[in-house]
């Protein structure tokens, strides 16, 4: 490897050729501030439009200051990252950005979590010397995401996420100069676009321009209503990330504290989405086996591969972009919706509460779930199976508002019956986890043998597209995995072109899977956080006594008492769904 020597703030640094000043400095422990630049190292995602100029440094011998995020090091370069010229210039740049930015930080959804705000604080900005016109733009509220574009600083991270990583192509910079904004085509609202509500744009937006629709007040109201019984479910990925909001190190599992906090918030029953994940495996795993067997027996009407369907961002994606392939995904509902359907029938009956008096709240790492629970097909007589879906971030707010010292809480358990889950349910939270859970169950049901080794290491990791062949007693089952919608698109295109050899494919819309979901604590560009969460998820699985969905005693009981068997009529009615061709719904201007 060819290396280069240079001096940064009088420190001699040696780096590989092609390294930017920004990276060289970081390697040397010098942290040059950045705003538009974003690098999610472990996910191989980079945004460098070189637009904000907050990262400028002085390079000896050059007349102009250089943006460190895009300027490559050269041999013998002498860089100064904090002399007075640089500091003044950075301040000016920041003040110019702030001169066209609302200053209502106190009531902004990102207050305390905004990169622009922290930078203004770090730079000690006390006065904005440039007075100019403030751009105004209408607020756009969709079922999951709010766009408040007055707070946009045109870093274009969202655009990169939506176009390059997710390949959904909803967002683009439009108009020019002072009028420029990031917007969907024809500046229509998000809910008229092909947005999947994956929330990846929200996850990287440094300011309050993109935020989730906040339902915490509705939850507080339900909890205060004496006529309502309020049930809560928490998704697998939440327990691996919630601690970050309370200053705990990334990857700290807070399952027990989370259950305790939910109980103290006043929920009548503290349940676990992992239970529903086990149920999903029973249905999806059986469907998988059924389709593979029929296909192998020569039934040409049964298409393979079967695709997982537990990610609503992914469901939105194929409904919009690949409507001709709607018969390929499994018909199994997401765990969130399975939970709601069972809670409002089986469980409501059990405790003798009427459907309309039972409120189901879900805690999700996900923004697409906010949209999913509002879909018409998931309601009975206008009463939704899941009433409110709130994000991990919203739950953290709720806990703080309620004066609960999270870190001091004891570890508590979930309630029964819908709080009991297996290790298979937990791993739903990471890329590779759903298909591993399905393999654990499908293998044993298909072969009639016990698995020698429960962990399928070959399905794990962070590679965007992974493949593995699992030996089902002489029958090689080919598995594909993709996370990030751009990668899902590749596998889908292969299927469309008849080039796919997989039997089953797992897809999650978010890079990393739900652990990297749009509703998780913000990573602020540090992707090692997502890796740490993944580790935590697998650790939780490894610590469980029961690790296969079909061995969950409460799932067995649910089938005995209520559902009959997987894919039964009742299961179909409550746990499966159908998809809609949304490609025609793409609206043009009036």
């Amino acid at each position: 490897m060819e290396t280069i020597k240079l001096k940064i703030d009088n420190k001699v640094v040696e780096v590989a050729k092609g390294t930017t000043i920004l990276k060289a400095a970081r390697e040397a422990g010098i942290h040059i501030p950045t705003l538009c630049y974003l690098h999610l190292h472990d996910l191989n995602i980079e945004n460098k439009p070189a637009g904000c100029r907050v990262c400028v440094v002085e390079v000896e011998g050059r007349r102009n200051l250089a943006p460190a995020c895009v300027t490559e090091c050269t041999e013998g370069m002498v860089v100064n990252t904090h002399n007075i010229r640089v500091l003044n210039s950075r301040k000016t740049v920041l003040e110019l950005i702030l001169s066209d930015h609302p200053t209502d930080c106190l009531i902004c959804a990102k207050n305390g979590n905004c990169e622009l705000q922290s930078m203004a604080q770090e730079f000690g900005i006390r006065k904005i010397h440039y007075e100019g016109e403030q751009s105004t733009y209408r607020e756009d509220t969709s079922p999951a995401i709010i766009r408040d574009i007055d707070k946009c600083i045109m870093c274009r991270r969202c655009e990169m996420m939506c176009n390059d990583v997710q390949t959904v192509g909803v967002l683009s910079a439009v108009n020019r100069g002072f009028m420029s904004v990031v917007a969907p085509a024809f500046e229509m609202n998000l809910d008229h676009s092909v947005c999947t509500y994956c929330g990846q744009c929200v996850a990287v937006c440094p300011t309050g321009a993109l935020t989730e629709v906040d339902h915490t007040n509705s939850v507080i109201r339900a909890l205060a209503d004496p006529t309502k019984t309020v049930v809560v479910q928490a998704a697998p990925a939440v327990r691996a990330a919630l601690g970050e909001e309370f200053g705990l190190e990334a990857g700290t599992l807070v399952t027990g504290k989370m259950a305790a906090a939910l109980r103290r918030l006043g929920f009548d029953y503290v349940f676990d989405t992992d239970f529903a994940a086990d149920l999903t495996i029973m249905e999806e795993g059986t469907e998988l086996l059924d389709r593979i067997t029929r296909h192998l027996n020569g039934d040409k009407n049964v298409p393979l591969p079967i695709l997982t369907s537990c990610c609503p961002g992914w469901v939105n994606f194929f409904e919009h972009q690949f409507p001709e392939m709607m018969d390929i995904p499994s018909t199994a509902r997401s765990p969130q919706q399975m939970f709601g359907a069972i809670a409002k029938t089986y469980f409501a009956d059990k405790i003798g509460v009427k459907r309309e008096n039972l409120v189901v709240v879900s805690i999700m790492p996900c923004l697409a779930k906010k949209y999913e629970c509002q879909r018409d097909e998931f309601a009975t007589d206008g009463n939704p199976d899941v009433d409110f879906s709130i994000s991990t971030r919203e739950l953290a707010h709720l806990i703080k508002q309620s004066n609960i010292e999270f870190n001091e809480l004891p570890d508590e358990d979930f309630d029964h019956p819908m709080g009991e889950s297996t290790g298979a349910g937990v791993i739903f939270g990471t890329t590779g986890g759903v298909i591993e859970a399905a393999c654990r169950t499908a293998y044993e049901l298909f072969t009639g043998k016990k698995l020698q080794k429960i962990a399928f290491e070959e399905l794990r990791g962070m590679e965007y597209i992974r493949e593995a062949t699992i030996d089902f007693n002489g029958l090689p089952i080919k598995i594909g995995i993709a996370h990030g919608l751009g990668n899902a698109r590749k596998l889908l295109q292969d299927i469309k072109d008849g080039k796919s050899e997989f039997h089953a494919i797992e897809i999650m819309a978010c890079p990393g899977g739900c652990i990297g979901g749009g509703g998780q604590p913000l990573h602020h560009g540090d992707s090692s956080v997502i890796k740490a969460r993944q580790k935590a998820i697998y650790a939780e699985d490894a610590g469980k006594t029961i690790r296969k969905s079909h061995e969950n005693p409460y799932i067995i009981k649910l089938y005995d008492e209520f559902l009959g068997k997987p894919l039964s009529e009742k299961s179909h009615h409550l746990l499966h769904t159908h998809y809609f061709d949304k490609s025609k719904e793409i609206k043009t201007v009036e």
Binding site: N163, S172, A173, V174, N175, R176, A185, F186, T588, V589
Partner: protein
């Protein structure tokens, strides 16, 4: 604005244009240029077709269309009115002339009257500085236009 539907042969023509540029993403600006030549403007449907043909997002196409002032999403009027804003014309009161057009037609620069008759645009020097201020209606040149003369020009076409 009414939703226009592309006629089949116009659609074919548009596809041909994309093809003539090998459906290359990088040729988007050229394709848009040609398309505006065909349609006179770039309605949403045209942008959607181009996006599909060049395999880019509609949002991106819209982004480019709104970035360059040359592109327009509004159909030109039957009688496109252009007012020169070059130095000579400007100095001799072109701005007042524009204001008068805006007032009488009740539209802004870049817009078209609801009946589709007139649209309003500004131009750089058209090389007739001796006649400043200059107004063009279609191909026809009107010189030494005063704000008072605007209503007569409009009357000439408003039949």
């Amino acid at each position: 604005m009414a939703n226009i539907k592309l006629s089949a042969n116009k659609l074919d023509e548009l596809r041909e244009v994309c093809k003539s540029f090998n459906n290359e993403k990088g040729e988007l600006i050229n394709v848009l240029h040609k398309a505006q030549g065909i349609f006179g403007y770039l309605p949403a449907e045209v942008q959607e077709v181009i996006a599909r043909e060049l395999n880019v997002s509609v949002a991106h196409v819209y982004g480019v269309v709104t970035f360059y002032s040359f592109f327009t999403m509004l159909p030109k009027g039957e009688h496109p009115v252009s007012i020169c804003l070059g130095t000579a014309c400007y100095v001799r009161g072109a701005e007042k002339v524009i204001e008068e057009f805006k007032r009488i037609l009740n539209i802004n620069v870049g817009e078209t009257t609801p009946d589709g008759k007139f649209s309003l645009a500004c131009l750089r020097c058209v090389g007739a500085c001796g006649l400043a201020p200059v107004v063009l209606v279609g191909e026809k040149v009107f010189g030494r236009v005063s704000p008072d003369g605007v209503k007569d020009i409009i009357a000439e076409y408003a039949k």
